[in-house]
Each structure stands twice: as structure tokens, then as C-alpha cells.
Point group: C2
Chain length 337, copies 2
């Protein structure tokens, strides 16, 4: 059934103000000049009737919805919510509202969600990493402009940004090497995850650079979550392999690993040094505060919003993207042996 009879339309306003609907529309959108007198009458009528234009009717007519779709992976992950916050800020005051959907790292589900977004005729899409194939994105981009974070991809109607994750991994391990560590374990990310793989590549490069051959026994599987950090660290300790430091592929893994070390009575950084990746807000509040690689997540969100706004023809000043940065806190120290 149609909206409740109480819903007031542009026609009602026109009637009360004694003008035509066209004129009301003109005033609403500032699309043509109208005499001050009628403008006043219309504005009064709008206020009196508490009129709100029906965005759907407008969308139907104009073909634009003032909504941008955001494909995140996990609404509960601090990494993504930090980016979301950036996007929210970047969109503030633009009139665009974000429609957030989650893909849960599943390519199939991601594609499905994007289709859902498109069914709602959103004006643009921001994709936060994920496992979607690039070809899929290119295909989607034939319909709407897309900004993709955590990807390198050049295609029409697509703007992609990705930080050199390899360099981040390199920086982290380099830091440990400089402290004197030689047996450095690595808690990997999800299998096949490019970012995780790149960070691992950095881990390898840093080793090579000082003439070390990374020991495969020091690399254990994680999943970017705390629980993965727990299992990985447990496996590592139980394997009996020797190590003095651990580089976790992201902060959440590091948190999990730290918990196991605590359980086993190992001191950080006394017995084992620990480095994370991301610099989540929480990294500064664990004890001891976590040494990690700072990613400007918030700025990335801000950037994505502005970039998309730009692609939509909105005036939006671009934001600069700071680079990855090593943040040395208190979970790293020289090895005792």
C-alpha cells in the first residue's frame, strides 16, 4: 500500500503556496530564478507542511540516488571499521550516504553483495580489499565508478590504491634484524591473501639482504584474527623450533600470539620480541604497547571517499596519503642470547 495519507508531496506544497509544482521543484533544486515573493510563499508552505521531498521519486527521475555502496569484509574488524570511519568523514556534508554491506572474504558473497548494491542503483562503490577477481571489478565498473582499496588495478572508471605491503614487511623484519635477532618467526595471514603474501615477501627480502636464508620451520599459518594468532603461536612453541622474535602478519594475530606467550610465562620483549602490522588503535593499549607497522587506514578511507566524490563530478579536494611507517613501541628489544 502507498505511504500513509499524511505524506505531503510537492503538489500539496504548490497548492498551499499558490504556485505550480514546477516552481516548487525549481526552488528545491535552485535550478532557475524565482521571484522572492513566491520563494517565500513556497518556503513557508514547506515549513508549515513539514514537507520532505521523496528521494525515490527524485532518483527515479534523475537516475542518481545520492547513495554510495561500500563493500567491507567484516563489520566487526577494527581494520575495516577504521576505514569506514574515514569514509564516513570523507562523505560528510556531501549529501551522499553510505550503504554498507559485508562480503566476509568470500568472492562469491562479495559479488552477490555488489549485485545487491547495484540493484539499489547506488551512484558509486568503494571496495575494501577482499577476494573478488579483478576482472569482476572491471566488469562492475562498466556500470558505476569504483574505488578499490588494497588493490593495484588500472581500468576505466576504476581508481585503485594499495600500499606497498612488501615494504612494510621488510621494515618490520629489518627492525628486528637491526636489534640483533636472527631467528625470526612469521605468523602468516590467510592462505592466498595478497597482502599477507607480500608481507611475507618483505620478510624474505630482509633476510636475504643480510645473507640469511629464512627457515621454513619458522613460518606458521594464521588467519588475520586473534584466534589464528593463538593457534599459530601455540604450534610454534610446541614445535620446539628456536626463535627470539615473531613478526605477525597483522596486529590481531599479534594480539593472539601475545596471549599465548603470556600463558606460557614468556616475557615480551624479554624472552620474545613481537611485531605486528596495521597499527590498530588497540595496539597502543595492549601491554606492553605493540611495535608495529602503521598503515594510514583512516586516511585511506578518507581518500577513497574523496576520490569517489571526484569521480562523481563533485567538488572534493583530494587528500594526501602518508606512507607506511614503522612504529617502535615496547614489544621489541635486543635478544638475550
Amino acid at each position: 500500500m502507498p505511504a500513509d495519507g499524511a505524506s505531503v508531496t510537492v503538489v500539496d506544497v504548490a497548492r498551499v503556496a499558490g504556485v505550480s509544482p514546477s516552481t516548487v521543484s525549481r526552488i528545491l533544486n535552485g535550478t532557475a530564478r524565482v521571484t522572492a515573493e513566491k520563494r517565500k510563499a513556497v518556503e513557508d508552505a514547506i515549513a508549515a507542511l513539514d514537507f520532505r521531498p521523496n528521494l525515490f521519486a527524485r532518483s527515479l527521475k534523475t537516475g542518481t540516488t545520492m547513495t554510495i555502496g561500500i563493500l567491507t569484509q567484516d563489520i566487526e574488524s577494527p581494520f575495516f571499521t577504521r576505514a569506514l570511519r574515514g569514509i564516513e568523514e570523507g562523505l560528510a556534508g556531501s549529501g551522499y550516504a553510505p550503504l554498507i554491506v559485508s562480503g566476509h572474504w568470500d568472492a562469491e558473497e562479495e559479488a552477490e553483495r555488489i549485485r545487491l548494491l547495484m540493484a539499489r542503483r547506488i551512484d558509486g562503490v568503494v571496495i575494501l580489499t577482499g577476494n573478488l577477481a579483478d576482472t569482476q571489478i572491471v566488469e562492475f565498473a562498466t556500470h558505476q565508478p569504483i574505488v578499490a582499496l588494497g588493490r593495484t588495478l588500472v581500468a576505466p572508471n576504476v581508481r585503485a590504491v594499495r600500499f606497498a605491503q612488501e615494504r612494510g614487511g621488510y621494515m618490520a623484519v629489518r627492525h628486528l634484524l637491526e636489534l640483533g635477532h636472527r631467528r625470526i618467526a612469521f605468523i602468516a595471514g590467510p592462505v592466498g591473501h595478497v597482502d599477507a603474501n607480500d608481507r611475507y615477501a618483505g620478510y624474505v627480502r630482509a633476510h636475504m639482504e643480510v645473507g640469511l636464508d629464512p627457515d621454513p620451520a619458522l613460518v606458521v599459518q594464521g588467519d588475520f584474527l586473534e584466534t589464528g594468532g593463538v593457534t599459530a603461536m601455540t604450534a610454534l612453541l610446541d614445535s620446539g623450533v628456536d626463535f627470539t622474535a615473531v613478526f605477525a602478519a597483522n596486529d590481531q594475530s599479534a594480539f593472539g600470539a601475545r596471549m599465548v606467550l603470556y600463558r606460557r610465562g614468556l616475557s615480551v620483549p624479554g624472552d620474545v620480541s613481537l611485531v605486528g602490522f596495521d597499527d590498530l588503535p588497540a595496539a597502543a593499549y595492549v601491554t606492553p604497547p605493540l611495535t608495529t607497522v602503521h598503515q594510514p587506514i583512516h586516511e585511506m578511507g578518507l581518500f577513497a571517499a574523496r576520490a569517489l566524490l571526484g569521480m562523481l563530478g563533485q567538488p572534493a579536494e583530494p587528500v594526501p596519503l602518508p606512507d607506511l611507517q614503522m612504529v617502535v613501541r615496547e614489544t621489541t628489544a635486543a635478544p638475550k642470547r
Copy 2:
């Protein structure tokens, strides 16, 4: 391949299938019987043209948008994202999509955001706590069904749920008292926040019950954030007042407080016992794991989604809400003195 799926309309489908638009619509919505023959033709045409019904046109006509609005306070707060995840789950498969906006604990902004939601003609609203006046909510509820979490409010078209926060505070302090603590500090929440006040009331009641008069010098201001916990704990220690345990109004405050204790070289729970509130996922991963009061946040989100679906006339089986529960981990112990 998908042609310009954007511009394919029900009329195109009708033409290709050799039927009228009405019939296509009927098949789309299963609203009347159609011969198998035509149904087949239409379905083939839909597939061939990659037709997607324009939801806006449909909304315009039916007055329903299959969108529900969610007013959260801070998209980055783990408390809210956990609830959001519950809502997301509760909505899964219902066809409704959530439109998330943030009020940032500002009554004015909250009202503004809700108006924005209503301008988008959402079918229902979930309000996650906040500072909006109840009268405002009642007023909004005249337009859409509303589910409010963290409120006690009885009104037509409104469903409100709130846990007995006072009891939670009582349980936390009771736990400390039973361990033998007598000088228990309290890190308060934001000024005027009902939940925070109620938790404080529980703090007071637990004291009274054992014949103790809570010392005002032991109560310090916080803001539900880590930073607030830091300032509060710092102020407490600097004031020189004597205490053996701290009850923080929420986990995030506790995390901040824990950091300061670490900085000052005070052991937890050796020198000071610490209790939080909420049982955020992170509470299990700080060291030592935080003793806290568990709120079924996720379930609350699930509950809200189902309740709203029910109000919208959808078949949605209600979910039970477990009660608050004391989770004793490792930040509490008997006082040394």
C-alpha cells in the same frame, strides 16, 4: 554478456517475451497466476536481457523500501560493531538491507541522522542507545516502527530493550568485595549517560549492602574510551588516595586504566584488581585477560533485527536474550593488604 542492464525495463522484457508489462510484474512478484507457457517466456527474457527491477520505481509505487535504518553512535567502537554484526545476521536473507548512520552521542546529530533516514523512506529504525530524548523517539515512531536498544520505553510502534545495568555494576563490585577488597575505585562513564549512572548505582548498592559508605574520592570521571581510562587512572594515582581495586564503567576504560597501571609499574591483579564491563571480544586478549561483566551485545543486535522484522509483518522467529553475566578472568585477586 551483461548488456546495459541499467536501462533494461519491465517494458523491454514484456516486448521480448511477447506479453504485457503487467504480466511481467505479476511474475516478478508472484502476485497472480500466469500460464506456465508465458512464465517461461518471461523468465527467459529476463535472463536474456539481464533485467533487474528498479527498486526505486518499485518503492515509489509500493511505499516500501526494503531498507531499515540503523542509528549507531560510533562506527569504530567495538561495542557498536558487535551489535551491528548481530543486526546484519538477523537481517540476512530477509531481503532488507541496513542503512547505517552515526550519531556520535550528540542528541542534535542523532535527530538529524534519523531525519536523513526518514527522508530515505526506510521501513523501520533500530536505535542503538544514544542521547536522543525519549519523546523524540516516540514522535519518530509515528512514522516508522522503531526498535531501541539500551532504553526502557513503552510507546506505540516502539520496542525497547535494556539490560539492568545497575545489576551489572552490583555484580562486578560484589565480586571485588567478596575477594576482600574494601577500597574500590570507580571510573565513571560520560556525564549524564544513563548506563554509566546505573552501573554506578550498582557500585553504591553493593557497598551499602556490606555496610560500607562509598568514598567520593574514589570516583573519577571517564568517557567510555581508552583515553578517558588513561586520564582517570592517572588522576586517581596522582591524588594519592588509597585503593586496591578498580571498577571501570566499560572495557575500553579498563584498557586505558590498565595501560597506566603498567606504566606505573603496578601489577594487575597483584597490586590492583581491575574489572571492566561489556566483555568486548578484546577483553579475552589483553594480558592478563580482563575480568568483566558480559553483555550479550551480539544477541541484542540479533534480537533487534528480528523484532523489527516482526513489526514489519515479516515471519521472524524471536531470539531469546541471555542475561548479564559475571566473567571472572585474571585481573582480579584478593588484596595483598
